[in-house]
Amino acid sequence: MEQRLGGVLAGGALGFALAVTIASLATGRPLEIVENLIWVYTSPAPLVNTVLLSVPIAMAAIGLSLSYRARFITIGAEGQIVLGSVAALWATAYSGLEGSAALALALLLPALSGALYALIPFLLRAYAGASEVLTSLMLNLVAVYVTNYLIATYLREGAFVMTRIVPPELRAEWYLGLVMIVAAALSAHLLLTRTRWGLAIEVYGRAPKAAETYGYSARQVMLLVSLLSGGLAGLGGAVAMLSFQHSLTPMSFPPGYGYAGALVAWLSSNNPLAALFASLFFSSLMVFGRSLQAVGVPLSYALAAQALIVLFTLIAVARERQWQ
């Protein structure tokens, strides 16, 4: 894993260089692009935005890294995050609770709803054998539709389609998200390296037959990672709601945090600590891509560039593995 870090860095750097190169060739304004680059990585506002944006991504990635270690390839973080933010909104703006009670509910309920939603692919896999890749993917879209429905009906506030807003006293400062993802990454790391559950995840992921032969239940391991990754993703949605979203409007597309989380988890070799940095890197790319629009680079370019970086890293990592 440590050895793969070189590949990740090299691939990431190469992809990044290529992306910047294409952008400057396309616009003919390299100075402004570099200026943007410096701004994004040195100024407080974009840095704060990077942190804010990285919270849902990192929470998803940390959970997914546990899941992928157990070879449970769910891509369902997307839907779980959406449901998590809905739950947090309900807890703070609709439940009627105030103060710390509302806050506690705003963290508990999203974690719970994310975990419960993650149960569906688990049950389908464990009891019917259905591939969790596809079921979780489909469930993402279902979650978006259900949420849109909720926003337009039960959560709708006033004549127009908008929800209530998280009351100012219940909102979270940006650094709370940072604290949360650091805590989550550390706990996930400790869980993996220092507990029986972590051992079960490692053993099951690397050798499912051995795990079963020596008394680790496949279902229990899958259940564990499903609940953990779903809960973390739900929490990620909650923190996003409390720290910057504050309200919801109907979505045309899934917001993409969960998909980004899946990519980040792989980029970081399913290492929760590495996922922390990788998601910060990933969200800084988003912020950078957004800032480049001032120079006339379309946002879609940033999307393509991110994917290009992932593909480059994939190749670099895979090449390295081939040599071993």
Binding site: Q3, R4, G6, A10, G11, A13, L14, F16, A17, L18, T21, I22, A23, S24, L25, G28, R29, P30, L31, I33, S43, P44, A45, P46, V48, N49, L52, L53, S85, N148, Y149, I151, A152, T153, A159, F160, V161, M162, I165, A240, M241, F244, Q245, H246, S247, L248, T249, P250, M251, S252, P255, R290, S291, Q293, A294, L299, S300, A316, R319, E320
Partner: protein
């Protein structure tokens, strides 16, 4: 990956980066034009909720932005697209901290919260919120609201629909049943009755049925919009479908039916699709007319005032005739051609001449507010967010009463002829 390999890759990256930057610089210096920089500059930022390639709402705003950027050398116009409403505040704030903008155009209703929170923190910057309620910002001196209103045009669409329908059934596919869309549906229904009565068909409009589907619950849902159109046509035998959705899916579906030999009509929305296609040598046969918005005159007006130092906090509700300064000098009507910030898309030949004349006549009258669609008596019934009836029909607008802005702005009832979704 060993050190050497890593260094090699890093080297390739560095060289590529250097070459790219240098190449870009060379290209850039070639391209650079020596434009005389005006002494005073206005910096404006547009925030879009969708992608500029949506061929709908965002594309229309983007066109307006591009037009003013071209027209005013003193304007430095930037935009950020695909800003999720939930992220808007942090995105806009980061930009505001980087540079001092004179104007920020927030082009989605959902940016309301962001504008409300940012405006007090950046008093130097003027915020313009599109489609927001004026009341929400009445205490903020640097926030104005603007909107291009379509209900008059929907009434005219309705006349066309009532005049051409052979089944005496017309339909509507709404994105949401919010007041804006509800008044569009009602205007369309009133217009359709007017059209049928004018042509003396469908029992002088009494037998005309107006079907509304359930709301799509998304501004962008082309696949669903098409399915709902098919539903209206296949299930209820509707032959004219109007809609509120950010794409042209309903019109596309209508054209599909037309191609298959079934006459189904629809309308342009935001953009004049008829002319769009005509320039490419193709005539849309299902296209009756439609509502078009041109944000350019609004942006031009707002920015010019700003440039002249004459900013006033205002609430723009652009309707027919607004931003059409030449209208007194013309003898002929411009109905069906660009005029002002909202106008009628080209009128199809398939609309009977009598109805076309009526549309042009009312178009001109509406410009002067001599005719107003929502004039009583109108009977209707209150609906919920999904269009279900909450009461039986009763008088909603008393005889000879004209609805005011606030009643229009918060409309929550369906005209009695509208058959609401099950």
């Amino acid at each position: 990956m060993d050190r050497r390999e890593f260094l090699r890759l890093a080297g390739i990256g560095a060289i590529a980066l250097g070459a790219g930057l240098a190449g870009g610089y060379a290209l850039g210096s070639q391209r650079a034009e020596r434009a005389e920089a005006p002494a005073k500059k206005i910096k404006a930022l547009w925030i879009y909720v969708g992608p500029i390639t949506d061929v709908g709402w965002t594309a229309a705003h983007h066109e307006g932005k591009e037009n003013v950027a071209k027209a005013f050398p003193w304007l430095e116009a930037r935009h950020i697209e695909k800003v999720k409403e939930e992220e808007a505040k942090s995105v806009i704030e980061a930009e505001l901290q980087r540079e001092r903008y004179d104007a920020v155009f927030a082009t989605s209703y959902g940016f309301k919260t962001a504008v409300k929170e940012l405006a007090p923190k950046y008093p130097e910057t003027k915020f313009f919120h599109c489609s927001g309620e004026w009341e929400e910002f009445k205490d903020l001196p640097n926030v104005s609201t603007y909107f291009a209103e379509f209900y008059q045009l929907y009434y005219l669409n309705g006349i066309a629909a009532g005049a051409v329908t052979e089944t005496c059934k017309v339909g509507y596919v709404p994105a949401f049943l919010i007041p804006e869309v509800v008044r569009h549906i009602n205007a369309f229904a009133l217009g359709a009755i007017h059209g049928a009565r004018l042509m003396g068909k469908c029992g002088n409009g009494d037998r005309l049925e107006i079907y509304s589907t359930r709301p799509l619950l998304s501004w962008f849902a082309p696949d669903k919009a098409k399915e709902f159109t098919a539903y209206l046509v296949d299930r209820y035998n509707v032959d004219v479908v109007a809609f509120t959705e950010d794409t042209t899916a309903v019109l596309d579906k209508a054209e599909e039916y037309y191609e298959r030999g079934k006459k189904v009509f629809s309308f342009s929305h935001y953009n004049d699709m008829f002319t769009y296609y005509q320039r490419r040598g193709r005539t849309l046969r299902s296209h009756l007319t439609g509502q078009v918005a041109d944000w350019t005159p609004i942006y031009r007006d707002l920015l010019l005032k700003l440039y002249a130092g004459a900013y006033v906090k205002e609430d723009i509700w652009a309707r027919l005739g607004d931003y059409a300064p030449l209208r007194w000098r013309r003898q002929d009507s411009l109905a069906g051609r660009p005029e002002g910030s909202v106008y009628l898309a080209p009128l199809s030949d398939q609309i009977p001449a009598k109805a076309r004349d009526e549309i042009v006549r009312l178009y001109e009258m509406m410009k002067e507010l001599l005719f107003e669609p929502f004039t009583g008596p109108i009977r209707g019934y209150k609906i919920d967010g999904e269009g279900r009836a909450q009461e039986s029909a009763r008088v909603k607008v008393e005889s000879n009463v004209r609805l005011g802005r606030d009643e229009l702005w918060y409309m929550d009832w369906f005209h009695e002829k509208i058959i609401s979704p099950a």
